[in-house]
Symmetry: C3
Subunit: 316 residues, 3 copies
């Protein structure tokens, strides 16, 4: 997320109660997670093993839970609870704005676009031209829908990231990381009925140009789906996945978070993808394997009784 105007880091320190280290005159232009920060951004880290990655990232301002030496040209905001500070900033700069009507007056709708009855379009949403949104679709605040897009009924674009920090010592153990990112649906995408595309935590979840999703599909937060992909019904893709162009996922495939599926890969129905896959190949199984190897494996399994007989005959 970018702020509407740059914010003095000293103001942030005062607002959050964090102690400032390093340059006290920086301006914060946005807040982002480590994997997508750029110059001017605030980022945050609360696990020692990610300190070095965060301190060496492009982030200009780092919220951190240890008083480490401040890298040259950066500012630290030291606090016991970086997670809470992050949430406090998000709440202040992207507060939830309740809606008073189905289509927000702040939404921008392109020419020749049809919005059917029962559609909710949140604040600051942009919808392109020649787009068709079928009845009872929900589009949360700040999302971006392109041109020539079709979205079928019951689909929900931009619901919150499913992202919680566990605190086992509390009665209510899961602490929600607030989402301030967006879901971006590029031109010429078609999304089936009863799908969900969650928004990014701080960045964008993207469905790339020309991609077609069938019904009941889940796309997690910060996942980037490339161009001209096909996903059949009931596919689930977790957060922060990267599905490259022209990937085909058949029905009920499940894809783990934090991985890449290479260009043109095909994953057969009901497979489970735990880790990155090379492009241009066909996969099958839970966990997935090269489809042909998997088929051979299934054939071998059927031969176990034959092996058993052979062993017994050998033993005679």
């Amino acid at each position: 997320m970018q702020f509407e105007q740059p914010i003095p880091v000293q103001w942030m320190a005062d607002f959050t109660g964090a102690e400032i280290r390093g340059d006290e005159h920086q301006l914060a232009t946005g807040i982002n997670e480590i994997h997508m920060v750029k110059k001017g951004d605030i980022s945050f880290v609360d696990f020692e093993k990610y300190y070095s990655k965060c301190l060496n990232s492009a982030a200009t301002i780092i919220i951190i839970n240890k008083d480490v030496p401040c890298p040259e040209g950066k500012t630290l905001l030291v606090t016991a609870e970086p997670f809470d500070v992050y949430n406090k900033i998000v709440k202040r700069f992207r507060p939830f704005e309740p809606a008073s009507q189905m289509i927000s007056p702040t939404a921008i709708i392109g020419e020749n676009t049809t919005i059917q009855p029962g559609v909710f379009i949140g604040n600051h949403v942009t919808v392109g031209s020649n787009t068709l949104i079928h009845p009872n679709v929900t589009i949360y605040d700040n999302c971006v829908i392109g041109n020539n897009v079709v979205i079928h009924s019951g689909t929900v674009i931009g619901a919150d990231a499913f992202y919680f920090k566990r605190r086992k010592d509390r009665e209510v153990q899961y602490d929600k990381m607030l989402s301030c990112g967006r879901a971006v649906i590029e031109d010429d995408v078609e999304i089936g009925a009863c799908c969900t595309v969650d928004r990014g935590v701080t960045g964008d979840t993207v469905i790339g140009r020309g991609t077609k999703l069938d019904n009941h599909i889940q796309i997690g937060h910060d996942t980037v789906v490339g161009r001209n992909c096909i996903m059949a019904s009931q596919v689930g893709v977790a957060g922060v996945a990267h599905i490259e162009d022209e990937v085909i996922l058949w029905g009920q495939v499940g894809v783990n978070k934090d991985l890449t599926i290479g260009k043109g890969a095909v994953v057969l129905a009901q497979s489970g993808v735990p880790a990155s896959l090379e492009g241009g190949k066909t996969y099958f199984g839970t966990p997935v394997d090269d489809a042909k190897s998997k088929m051979r494996e299934l054939a071998w399994i059927k031969r176990i009784p034959e092996l058993w007989n052979k062993i017994n005959n050998n033993a005679k």
Copy 2:
């Protein structure tokens, strides 16, 4: 379900056409299934193998399809079709009430709660305070939503139990058991987009305090989910399951009915759970096994060709 006021059992006999046995002066205070009856309740049984369980349950009044000796202190309502009698009573005491507006005037909404546009809230629903219900959510009659709850768009709370009695001799073979129970969402729960939490047949389906559900999750009737559980997208839990506290179910896991998953159990993605699981362990596979055993099993499968070669070499 409890009745609003106690009903004389003689009235029930007259209303249903059942023959009365035992104490004719009892008062019925509610109607419930065997597994959740209490004193004063009506229950019903139409399978001989459950007779003894039902007759020895806490139920005060038993609708039964055989003229068996009436246990001391109870009343029997003898009828050829206990199922039909149950449905007749439910229809009379909890009739379907069509809605004339999106938010029923009989609903009670707490302070600081935000109901976004397009939300349906049925009759006699209670929603706590500081709760946020996103657009196009549906909450059926009589459900209870706690404080600090978030429910995302497209989600349906309290639809009917999927519960049918098969009658092979009829043209329309499946006869619906009417639901009169509720869905209860406790405090601090978050439910993702396009989820379904069915109501209980006669009792409550419960999502326990602090539990977080991702998108596209199915929770069947009368299932009780404990506190601080996590379910990832597209998990399906059938009816009458008991998921204890702090259980984690990863994406696309399927859970059978009538079982218990013990406290703190973790079930890895796409697994299928056919029967009860001990708590505190990690499981994987369809049907699930201890995750490490399952991983070893998968490694062994890949070695079958090696076994084959060994056998052939031994044979030489």
Copy 3:
């Protein structure tokens, strides 16, 4: 799809720019895919391997991308792009009609039928009597809903077929085949919450009398589900499948397109059905097998370490 009135084939040739061969005086009464054409229909073919099937089908008029000899009594419309011509005809004879209100004034609703708030009913929809449609359901144009039907919230009936032609040479590779068919829900059907039943491409998707669907179920275009079937939650059936009467599909089963599941077959939870299954049997696994064989296979897998030890002992 049938046209409202017969259309002269010469008009079609002029409208589409196709070259006419054979009888120039035919009347086209409808347009349908090969697998469901009847006399009077237009059909189309653009793959050489389907030429003979299409030319020998019941279709009276055939849109084709090669100037082949015209069979006796038929008419050919020869064009480089039969797919585009099909889409042009559908757009002309069944154009998308945007809605201006939640329940179309052209819809026909039967007696004693309850339509809850938030329901969208498109143009030319027919709903029978004694039917109950829960809040926030969407029914697309031209669908047919029978008598004594129950449809739960969030469900979408009649969304477009997921049917695209790939054109690898274009920037936007997937070209949508427009749907002009319907979804037909027969009498006494119950459909759970958040289900999707897509409409046929040119014909009907059918849910047969007395069939009951749980929540989150996907039924693809042109699939015909028989009578008195049961599908548990999160089942997905692809397009052009034929599920015969009294079939039971347990939770999260996936069914491929273009196949038949025979009468009374039972498919256990999470199974994947790649091809046709005989009726009257029980199946399990991905891909499915006879359930008992599959269970034995799973038992054999657990014995591989035992085989390994035996082999090693034999070798000594």
